[in-house]
């Protein structure tokens, strides 16, 4: 058995030694001990998905699957390789998912989106050409309050190369004839 005390976390390909108490969540360790503030806290108890990170067992390949860091204990994450939003992009620039989210207007306030983009990345790693229902299902644990999800689906499809960004043109309204203003003529105010 391992004693509690100094722990090792493997995040974005880097190994960190941390002295944190056993009640430290992985999210707290990422945000406040490692300065990886891209992982967000929205509900702090596994209800919203903002804290989503990717995890895989150490020694395995790929980026892993989406888990919730706010209800994972840092001490219990030592056997995992973690990828956070900061680990998606590199010197070569943004990941195609990140690029597409930015280009398609999927990012409004942006707060839920690190978790959303990681869920999307995990989906595309497993299934490079997902259908819309598959995308909707894969993102159903990440709550977004800004977008109505529509542009998020679009971004995932654009990242997967399944479509181009939306281009529907605005429609011009004709100048409508001003309607008769008889009814507006008399106003009675009774405060």
């Amino acid at each position: 058995m391992r004693p509690s005390g100094l722990i090792h976390l493997f995040v974005n390909g880097e190994q960190h030694a941390l002295a944190v108490p056993a009640q430290r969540t992985l999210l707290e360790a990422l945000r406040y001990d490692l300065g990886l503030t891209g992982s967000k806290q929205g509900c702090d108890k596994g209800d919203c998905g903002a804290c989503t990170v990717l995890a895989r067992a150490r020694g395995t390949t790929g980026r892993g699957e989406a888990i919730l860091s706010c209800i994972t204990l840092a001490h219990d994450a030592q056997d995992l390789e973690i990828t956070t939003i900061e680990g998606l992009s590199g010197p070569e620039g943004l990941d195609p998912v990140q690029r597409a989210f930015a280009d398609c207007g999927a990012l409004q306030c942006g707060f839920c989106q690190p978790g959303m983009m990681l869920s999307a990345r995990a989906l595309l790693d497993k299934n490079p050409s997902p259908t819309l229902p598959q995308i909707q299902d894969a993102l159903s644990g990440n709550l977004c309050r800004c977008t109505g999800y529509t542009k998020i689906y679009e971004a995932v499809q654009v990242a997967a190369g399944l479509r181009a960004p939306a281009q529907r043109a605005p429609v011009q309204s004709e100048r409508a004839a001003a309607s008769d203003s008889k009814a507006q003529a008399v106003k009675e105010i009774v405060p």
Binding site: R31, P170, V171, S173
Partner: protein
């Protein structure tokens, strides 16, 4: 052309790679963490607070009680009725009582349990009806009469005569449940008092300027020494447009300790801070003449306000004032009471004040039209108020693309072929709405511009725009880049926006009332046009060269300012300016629903939404606002409600129990932009962030009627309510069959 382009958001990359800084991402040296003790009672007198044990707790650095911040605050100058921490009374479960700053959150939280509060529990009023019936139980001493925050009674024309002569009248009671914003980012603030007496507060606010004013007043620090900075904001929707307890607490505790202090609300605390949609009970009468024209609308509105005023004075007006388009009313009357109750305060949620009565009106209109056998789309078309007209309550409508909106959703949904013909359990419904593009009136009276923008040119060709406006995710910073590029022919990617920092940026009133695109847009355009003239005069091969030549000609660095100057608008009567806007947006929706008639479980299948935003400065951003609005409206129809127990305790203040739709619960959304090119707006633009929410709810209610012949008049449209109505319908059918 930069205006009208689908330009990616200027902060998109920082939001995409996780490097963007939100309030809780700020960590300062020696920063303390504070927690707020909250009232377990809905209404109680605070006889005494003993913080000595908490102060003695190892790791605690300071405590704070209400007596140290006695000045009352509130966003509306006439109804300042809040204290950061309870001074004499607590008025709702979750009301703030005391605060502890410690080395870490856990220590602060542990110390809270050591604070002894001596409460004298008082009787509480939990409904607006009770609040009216029991004026002797005074929720908030600010109320002049009983528990009334505000009473508005306005009449335009002889409503009773019009109703008496009507060909068809719908008269029903509608109930709108309270809901809340649920930004995914919980409120957070960091305060730092410098040794030289300058106070800085970083806050997840959408009104930095108001927060600055109120901090100054409550803390007794000159406004010139208070700096409020809004970092990236993780959603707001009106939920961050009041000053909140945490901002005062971090500031005061920083003054007491000489150290930076942070407070991050838990999700539960966000629910108690609330300011969400007001529950309303609306007795609505809609009268149509023989041609199906609206001859009268009469609305008696009872508004459940919660413990504090917040924007409640405005709510009481908006509930009536914003209803008078896109249809022409022959006569109109509304009588609204906004009541204090012992619950978390309601405030402005996206579509402030008018979402509830809009639901009632649009359903009542269908009910009345049904009596005359007029198609729902047709009755809306027939009552179109027109462009450049005055409404019955004296508001000046300029551009109006509502007919085009209606036509688009009618076509896209296949209305003519499908409405009334989809068979049992499936139906279409339509609704329309209008909304303001900012208010003609600043919330505190003054003659200064509501929006100011400063643009500076660098000889490198870099443009810096200083704007007080809050980008709350809607993308105003991106619009500023586009406006600069449009006017000065620079690359929008070479524009830096410095925003929402009261030391660095000119004043903007904040991101509320859908005012930002219109007012900040005009201010920015004015500043950029001034510089553009100088750049054109100077000439040059490249933008940088033009900047250099212009600067040489000027003999000084190049900068210019622009402002949005408040226009005098509105009816000539008390309250006539409230709801008066320089331009109104218009929206039409068609919703399609399916209903499982055996269980009452139903689904919004799809919503077609067309919105007249005047001119889409950035269609991608406008679509995002339409889609987000429609989603939020549909969510309120489907599932959202703030439910309290008999002691005023909010059930399930969490994202598990207060359910907001997941991707799987959100209908297919089809957004259409209509451009009516408003003569007053920047490049013709009007608002897009709130208007498109309104029709979603009545369109869904009307679709439920088309699907199965029931009229649901109470939100949310819980399946049990649907099932009950279905059984009543079947009972009626059986009675008819029997007779």
């Amino acid at each position: 052309m930069s205006i009208g382009a689908r330009f990616p958001k200027s902060d998109g990359a920082a939001k995409a790679d996780g490097s963007g800084v939100y309030a809780d991402d700020i960590a300062l040296p020696r920063m303390l963490h504070a927690k707020i003790l909250r009232s377990p009672h809905a209404h109680a007198r605070v006889r005494a607070i003993d913080v000595s044990a908490a102060e003695a707790f190892p790791g605690v650095v300071a405590t704070l009680v209400g007596a140290e911040l006695p000045a009352k605050y509130g966003v509306i100058p006439w109804t300042q009725d809040e204290n950061a921490l309870a001074v004499e009374k607590v008025r709702h479960v979750g009301d703030a009582v005391a605060c502890v700053a410690a080395l870490d959150e856990r220590t602060a939280e542990d110390a809270l349990r050591l604070i002894r509060v001596d409460y004298e529990v008082l009787p509480a009023v939990l409904t607006p009806e009770d609040a009216l019936e029991h004026p002797e139980i005074k929720v908030n001493e600010k109320a002049k009469v009983g528990n009334i925050t505000k009473h508005v009674n306005l009449q335009f024309g002889d409503v009773d005569a019009a109703v008496a002569e009507a060909a068809a009248v719908a008269h029903e009671t509608y109930r709108y449940a309270g809901s809340t914003h649920v930004p995914i980012e919980p409120h957070c603030a960091v305060g730092r008092m410098d040794p030289d007496g300058n106070l800085t507060v970083w806050s997840s606010t959408q009104i930095p300027h108001y927060v600055q004013r109120e901090l100054s007043r409550v803390l007794g620090v000159p406004q010139s020494k208070v700096r409020v900075i809004q970092p990236l904001l993780g959603g707001a929707f009106g939920g961050k447009s009041d000053p909140f307890a945490l901002e005062f607490c971090v500031a005061k505790l920083s003054m007491k300790t000489g150290r930076p202090v942070k407070i991050l609300y838990t999700r539960e605390e966000v629910f108690y801070a609330h300011r969400g949609r007001h529950p309303m009970k609306m007795d609505v009468t809609v009268a149509l003449d023989g041609d199906g024209r609206i001859s009268a609308v009469d609305n008696k509105i009872l508004i459940d306000g919660g413990a504090y005023a917040s924007f409640g004075l405005v709510t009481a007006y908006y509930a009536g004032q914003l209803l008078t388009g896109p249809y022409r009313f022959g006569t109109y009357r509304f009588d609204s009471y906004r009541m204090y109750t012992n619950k978390p305060p309601c405030g402005p949620k996206r579509g402030h004040g008018s979402v509830q009565p809009r639901f009632a009106l649009e359903v009542a209109l269908d009910e009345a039209a049904g009596k005359l056998g007029i198609d729902p789309v047709e009755v809306r078309r027939r009552n179109f108020i027109g462009e450049f007209v005055e409404t019955v309550n004296g508001q000046k409508i300029t551009s109006n693309g509502f007919l085009k909106c209606l036509e688009l959703v009618e076509k896209a949904s296949g209305w003519k072929e499908r409405h009334g013909k989809l068979g049992r359990g499936r139906g279409l419904g339509v609704a329309g709405s209008m909304y303001i593009s900012g208010t003609a009136y600043p919330v505190y009276p003054n003659e200064m511009p509501q929006s100011g923008v400063l643009v500076k040119l660098d000889r490198s060709g870099r443009v810096v725009i200083y704007s007080g406006a809050s980008d709350i995710g809607q993308g105003v910073n991106t619009l500023l880049c586009q406006i600069a590029a449009e006017e000065m022919h620079c690359d929008p990617r070479e524009v830096t926006v410095v925003a929402a920092d009261t030391d660095l940026t000119p004043v903007d009133m904040g991101a509320y009332s859908s005012r930002v695109t219109f007012m900040v847009g005009l201010a920015a355009r004015e500043a950029c046009q001034k510089l553009s003239a100088k750049l054109r005069a100077a000439g040059g091969e490249t933008f940088a060269e033009a900047c250099q030549r212009a600067e040489a000609a000027e003999g000084a660095p190049l900068a210019a300012t622009g402002g949005y100057r408040t226009q005098k608008l509105g009816g000539d009567y008390r309250g006539g300016t409230i709801g008066a806007s320089p331009a109104y947006s218009f929206t039409a929706h068609v919703a399609e629903v399916s209903v499982d008639e055996e269980t009452g479980i139903w689904k919004v299948e799809r919503i077609w939404a067309a919105h007249d935003c005047g001119k889409a400065l950035n269609p991608t951003l406008v679509e995002g606002q339409i889609e987000g609005s429609v989603y939020m409206g549909a969510a309120e129809a489907q599932m959202e409600e703030m439910v309290y127990n008999e002691k005023g305790l909010l059930f399930g203040p969490s994202l598990l129990d207060y359910r907001i739709p997941t991707s799987l619960d959100t209908p297919d959304l089809d957004s259409y932009i209509v451009e009516s090119n408003d003569p007053g707006g920047p490049y013709g633009a009007k608002e897009a962030g709130e208007g498109p929410l309104h029709p979603a709810i009545p369109a869904i209610a009307n679709a439920l009627h088309d699907a199965c012949g029931i009229r649901i008049r109470e939100l949310p449209f819980y399946p049990q309510r649907i099932l009950k109505l279905l059984r009543e319908r079947d009972g009626r059918t059986e009675e008819r069959a029997a007779s």
